[in-house]
């Protein structure tokens, strides 16, 4: 079989899910183009140090480094794999109705946001989407001050380029990801004053404690969490549940945070506020899946994530999905989802014993995701942290007060009108940060749209026809095709 007649699988994202998908598609006999915006594979979980640092012991910063290192060398060095680093997919072009082929994949390759990037187009037989997720951060007074970072930013800077964000740091939000973030900061020499989980211990324990036999299959993840907990204990960092950062204060940068005890619904118990002097704070209240590409491909969603079948196939022809866009479950789950997706995309036999085994492992990983969601939900009471002057949309500086006024005025209450009237979500980030929060705030204040009477269904906050910024000069350039 020649390279041209072989089945061609494009994989977008080279994190745990995408790398595994590439490996499985190669194993199934396909040729693979693996595309990622970063210079090196690994995604956020295995974010690698820059090659230029010439680090002698990169494994110091990673869990499961040996397995990851083997996998990335195997995939990137494979004769049937083309590795496209620094490559952003800015658009997916859907085939016409009734056409069952995969979408065309439009890519720009070159330094991030550079003007002279190369335009490339892929026409794969199958497309695996594994773009991952980014931190969800709920707004609170002062969250727009410099020195307030997402938990992911603190980790990316410490692990990815050895920059520490501060010396006296509070880590706050919800979910087990706060632990590795605190561990990264400690490793890099920061003092972590405390780690605050907004959910009360009862919620966390109920979520993690039910059906304990399911946890056994995720022993790797549980062991990793146990290590972080031990590290926190060694550094005497308190892990407090039912407490949150509800305000950041300072003159031009964060100088102190206000923490408070929360009820189970995340409403503040008044009188429990404490002021803590900090020079940086990291917050993360879970993750938002990066849904631009699946939506551009026409994939249906279910409960906010890409809907997939037993083989990780989406509802769009020849498009498969793996990793956090199908449900937030962490790296081990992403890896097995990637294996299942890549094998199916590469034309592997669904009845093969290893495919069956991978699907069983995937099913257990999904159970883990459900447990995670139950243990670390976002409480309904968070809008109580907001004041009328609190910025909700960071780009446009739309305040909570402006949003409420727009939502309460009958003429402008529809989500689209609120967006146009207040500009919330229309700035450079295109609602990636504030979209879910604005949607939630509006849904509470406005009645649902009357679709029968010609009302508009609110657009999903993730719908962005241009998935990544591209310059007009780049767009005008003819692309390279038949790759």
């Amino acid at each position: 079989m020649t390279a041209r007649t072989r089945r061609h699988v494009a994989v977008v994202g080279a994190g745990p899910a995408g790398l595994a998908a590439a490996a499985a598609a190669l194993r199934a006999g396909a040729r693979v183009t693996l595309v990622d915006a970063a210079e090196r594979p690994g995604g956020q979980y295995h974010r690698m140090l820059p090659e230029q640092y010439r680090a002698a012991r990169p494994e110091r910063l990673h869990h499961g480094w040996a397995a990851f290192d083997r996998l990335r060398r195997h995939v990137l060095g494979h004769p049937r794999c083309a590795w496209w680093a620094e490559s952003s997919v800015w658009s997916l072009e859907r085939p016409g109705p009734g056409d069952e082929t995969a979408p065309r994949v439009h890519v720009v390759r070159g330094p991030a946001d550079g003007a002279g990037r190369e335009r490339l187009v892929l026409d794969p037989d199958a497309l695996v989407l594994a773009p991952g997720a980014h931190d969800r951060v709920l707004p609170f007074p002062g969250w727009d001050l410099p020195g307030v970072f997402t938990a992911g930013a603190a980790q990316a800077l410490a692990k990815g380029e050895r920059v520490v964000i501060g010396d006296r740091v509070v880590v706050a939000g919800a979910g087990p990801f706060l632990l590795p973030v605190a561990a990264s900061l400690l490793e890099a020499g920061s003092t972590v004053l405390e780690v605050l989980e907004a959910n009360p211990a009862a919620t966390v324990l109920r979520g993690w404690g039910r059906r304990p036999w399911e946890l056994a299959s995720q022993a790797g993840k549980a062991g990793e969490l146990a290590e972080y907990t031990a590290l926190l204990a060694r550094h005497r960092v308190p892990y407090r549940t039912g407490r949150a950062v509800i305000e950041a204060r300072g003159d031009g940068r964060v100088e102190e945070v206000v923490t408070a005890r929360l009820r189970a619904d995340w409403s503040v118990v008044s009188g429990t506020e404490r002021i803590v002097a900090v020079d940086a704070v990291c917050v993360g209240h879970g993750f938002t899946p990066q849904l631009e590409l699946p939506l551009a491909a026409g994939c249906a969603l279910r409960e906010g994530f890409v809907q997939v079948d037993g083989d990780q196939r989406t509802t769009a022809p020849a498009v498969l999905a793996a990793g956090e866009i199908t449900g937030i479950a962490g790296a081990p789950a992403a890896r097995v989802e990637g294996l299942v997706a890549g094998w199916a995309a590469g034309g592997g036999d669904a009845a093969a014993p290893e495919a069956r085994a991978a699907r069983r492992r995937r099913d257990r990983a999904r159970a883990f995701a459900a447990r995670l969601a139950a243990a670390h939900p976002i409480g309904d009471g968070w809008p109580g942290w907001l004041r009328p002057e609190t910025v909700v949309c960071r780009c446009e500086e739309t305040t909570y007060g402006a949003l409420c006024r727009a939502a309460d005025a009958p003429a402008s209450a529809a989500a689209r009108a609120v967006k146009l009237g207040t500009r919330a979500g229309l700035g450079p980030c295109q609602a990636r940060i504030c979209g879910p929060s604005v949607a939630e705030l509006l849904a509470r204040r406005s009645p649902p749209p009357d679709l029968a009477a010609g009302g508009h269904r609110p657009a999903t906050p993730h719908h962005r026809p241009v998935a990544q910024p591209i310059r007009l000069g780049e767009l005008a350039r003819p692309p390279k095709e038949n790759l």
Binding site: A37, E39, Q44, L49, P50, E51, Q52, Y53, R54, A55, A56, R57, P58, R60, L61, P111, A112, D113, G114, A115, H134, D135, D144, L145, P146, G147, V148, F149, T150, G152, A153, A154, A156, L157, E161, R162, V163, V164, I165, G166, D167, E187, A188, G189, G252, R253, D279, A280, V391, R394, C395, E396, E397, G427, P428, C429, R432, I433, P469
Partner: protein, 104 residues
């Protein structure tokens, strides 16, 4: 204290840094090859370099190219995400803010 780059000789990962220099609004800043533009700015003690519509200071927030808070102009190209662009020796970085009515 402010953000900083871990000293190479104290870093357990065993780095072998290559120094580089960029200018920010004309002022030379020392960095090391492999750092992002945002990393160089943070490690030089700057927490903010852009202003929101009201003039409120902005720097790095998401760190992974999602929030667009950290936009700078690099070698004349506007709207470069500083957290995603690797610094190159000699890069001319200028800070930028939004003009009223600017799409960015």
């Amino acid at each position: 204290m402010s953000p900083r780059l871990l000293r190479a000789d104290a870093d357990p990962v065993g780095r072998h840094d290559t120094p580089l220099t960029v200018t920010v609004n004309g002022e030379p800043l020392a960095g090391v090859a492999g750092q992002t533009v945002a990393g160089v700015l943070l490690a030089s003690g700057r927490r903010s370099w852009r202003a929101g519509p009201s003039g409120a200071p902005r720097g790095v927030f998401c760190g992974i190219g999602v929030c667009f808070d950290c936009l700078v102009t690099v070698n004349g190209e506007r709207d470069v995400r500083a957290c995603r662009r690797r610094a190159a020796d000699g890069d001319v970085v200028t800070t930028q803010s939004r003009e009223p009515g600017d799409a960015r």
